[in-house]
């Protein structure tokens, strides 16, 4: 929270004058938990940020960093020896209809780095049209990439169209996690009208090898009541690990997912095929899903989650 406030202040003082009112509104919404009822702000947020990593003297360094509008990237100092972590920040404090965010990250040959998000991405009520988020990852030969954004929270009457395009070298490794909450559960919110389309397209050596398309619209509470959809779940996550030997990690991931320490309300499955490891999780409790995801990810990666996850 403190970190976010500092960033909002900085943005307000910066050249993007139109941002201030919007950022204040979003911050207020976050504090009171009434985000879905935040006043409609007509300015459209635009943000574009790009980061590229390269190998230099055996260590991964930032090769290029570009940011404009409401998208920022910060590079907090990490533990010595750990791969660098880049933190993507949406200074608008959320996404609403007509907003557009473009984030790109590229991992040069042999690099290892993590990209995460400063906070949950909140998708607020749209007065018309969808917010658009377009993420592009490019993972070079022998590189190890982690794309670990925090959860996306859709509030009632929000609209989001998101794309994730991933280009993998044949021997690249890439861990991707995305979780989506339809409301925050514990606060009794019900998303009776929402729209999400989330398209992932992963190419290996230029060939489309994995496509994931998640699509929910209308009364999502009713949609996810079905036993083949969610059986009452409102929180969903997909974990994807691409690697030439991904299949070899299946038993380990399956063991973590089915571990006795798992959250009782979380249902999950895992599969492996064609150099991919996939796990899906769902729960009626966003908090339980997040705890389980953190437990699984920390064990799978053998490292604690990036710091913003615990702020």
């Amino acid at each position: 929270m403190l970190a976010t406030d500092a960033i909002l202040d900085r943005t307000t003082a910066g050249p993007g004058g139109a941002v201030s009112g919007r950022a204040a509104g979003s911050a207020a919404g976050t504090l009171t938990g009434a985000g879905a009822a935040a006043p409609v702000v007509l300015e459209r947020a635009r943000g574009r940020a790009e980061i590229a990593f390269k190998l230099s003297a055996g260590a991964t360094r930032v090769d290029r960093l570009f940011q404009e509008g409401q998208a920022k990237i910060r590079l907090p100092r990490g533990e010595p020896g750990d791969p660098p972590t880049a933190v993507v920040i949406n200074t608008a404090g959320g996404v609403t209809g007509g907003d557009r965010l473009d984030i790109a990250a590229s991992w040069g040959p042999g690099t290892a780095a993590t990209v995460t998000g400063q906070a949950a991405e909140r998708i607020y009520r749209s007065s018309g049209g969808a917010g658009t988020i377009h993420n592009r990852l490019s993972v070079g030969a022998g590189a190890t990439a982690e794309w670990l954004p925090q959860e996306t929270i859709l509030f009632d009457r929000s609209r989001l169209a998101r794309r994730l395009e991933v280009d993998l070298a044949a021997d690249a490794r890439c861990l991707i996690v995305e979780s989506v909450f339809f409301g925050r559960g514990a606060m009794g919110e019900r998303v009776t009208d929402g729209a999400l389309s989330d398209h992932w397209r992963l190419r290996r050596d230029g060939r489309l090898v994995l496509a994931e398309s998640f699509r929910a619209g209308g009364d999502t509470t009713a949609l996810f009541a079905g036993r083949a959809t969610g059986a009452g779940a409102i929180a969903f996550a997909t974990l994807l690990y691409a690697a030439p030997d991904a299949d070899r990690h299946l038993d380990r991931l399956r063991g973590l997912v089915d571990d006795d320490a798992r959250e009782p309300t979380v249902e999950a499955g895992t599969s492996a095929f064609d150099g991919f490891l996939v796990a899906r999780l769902l729960s009626p409790s966003p908090q339980a899903l997040r705890r389980d995801l953190v437990r699984i990810l920390e064990a799978f990666r053998g490292r604690p989650m990036p710091r913003p996850w615990s702020c």
């Binding site: 060939r207 969610g230 999950a268 996939v278 769902l282």
Partner: protein, 272 residues
């Protein structure tokens, strides 16, 4: 076969493509010949082919796949005829049914227009969309077996040309079942508005058949479910005709998880 009988009924019932571009391109049959009662010989021949291709007896091994249903039965999510109907309605509306309908329509149009570049993209996308190991197996084994059986037993220039071009592009073409049926239907001049709902219904009939055996249910229960899902199949087919590839996507997350869990299910009758 119930699937085929109803498929013809549904075609009569008015699932019609929005534009004339969805009319068949005409295969080897005489398109102009029309009987006094209005039945064209070409349309009848196409429907007869389609009925054979979608029959459970067609050698694609459909009876060995449950699309994750076997786990849902094990898990207790599907225990009755009503449960099976609800499960399958969700899979049709929010899972593989709707995605297959969209891919089917797009593949049919590309194949009918001899747009092999677009068809190749759809072939690749449909394969990439299969979310688990067993769903990949289910879609790809049936797709490849379907293309082999149709090209072996129904030699046809338009289909042979499409298959040869795709083979030159991919080596081994990553066929999936819905895209394979769409491609053959277009090449053979079978109307999209017939082939799409009939294929969806064959998929539904196959999952019901798995349910009838694994729950178990009576044959009549299975037939009733198929009849009651008729409007859902029609609705999904219409949506598939109108939608584009950007409209792909689903929310049948528990059906995906069921397929994943099926991989380690202790006693299994089915391959998916």
């Amino acid at each position: 076969m119930p699937a085929n009988g109803t498929a013809i009924g549904m075609a009569d019932g008015g699932i019609r493509a929005a534009s004339s571009e969805d009319a068949p391109v005409g295969g080897a049959v005489d398109v102009a010949a029309t009987a006094p009662d209005g039945t064209s010989r070409a349309a009848s021949a196409g429907l007869l082919d389609l009925m054979v291709w979608l029959s459970p007896a067609f050698p694609v091994g459909g009876f060995t796949y449950s699309h994750g249903l076997e786990w849902a039965i094990e898990d207790g999510s599907v225990a009755t005829a009503a449960d099976l109907e609800a499960w399958l309605a969700d899979v049709l509306r929010h899972g593989a049914g709707r995605n297959d309908a969209i891919l089917f329509a797009a593949a049919w149009r590309a194949a009918a227009g001899s747009d092999v570049a677009t068809l190749a993209e759809i072939v690749e996308l449909a394969a990439a969309l299969q979310p688990t190991r067993e769903r990949r197996l289910e879609a790809s084994q049936q797709g490849a077996a379907f293309v082999k059986a149709v090209t072996d037993a129904w030699p046809h220039d338009a289909m042979a040309a499409l298959v040869a071009t795709l083979q030159a592009r991919f080596g081994t073409v990553p066929w999936t079942y819905a895209v394979a049926v769409a491609t053959a239907s277009a090449a053979h001049g079978i109307a999209l508005s017939d082939a799409l709902p009939a294929t969806l219904q064959a998929f539904a009939a196959n999952v019901i058949s798995a349910g009838v055996r694994a729950i178990p249910l009576g044959q009549t229960d299975g037939l009733r479910i198929l009849r009651r899902l008729g409007p859902v199949i029609a609705e999904v087919a219409v949506e598939g005709l109108a939608a584009g590839l950007d409209d792909l996507g689903g929310a049948a997350v528990r059906a995906d998880i069921a397929s994943m869990k099926h991989e380690t299910q202790y006693t299994r009758l089915f391959r998916s």
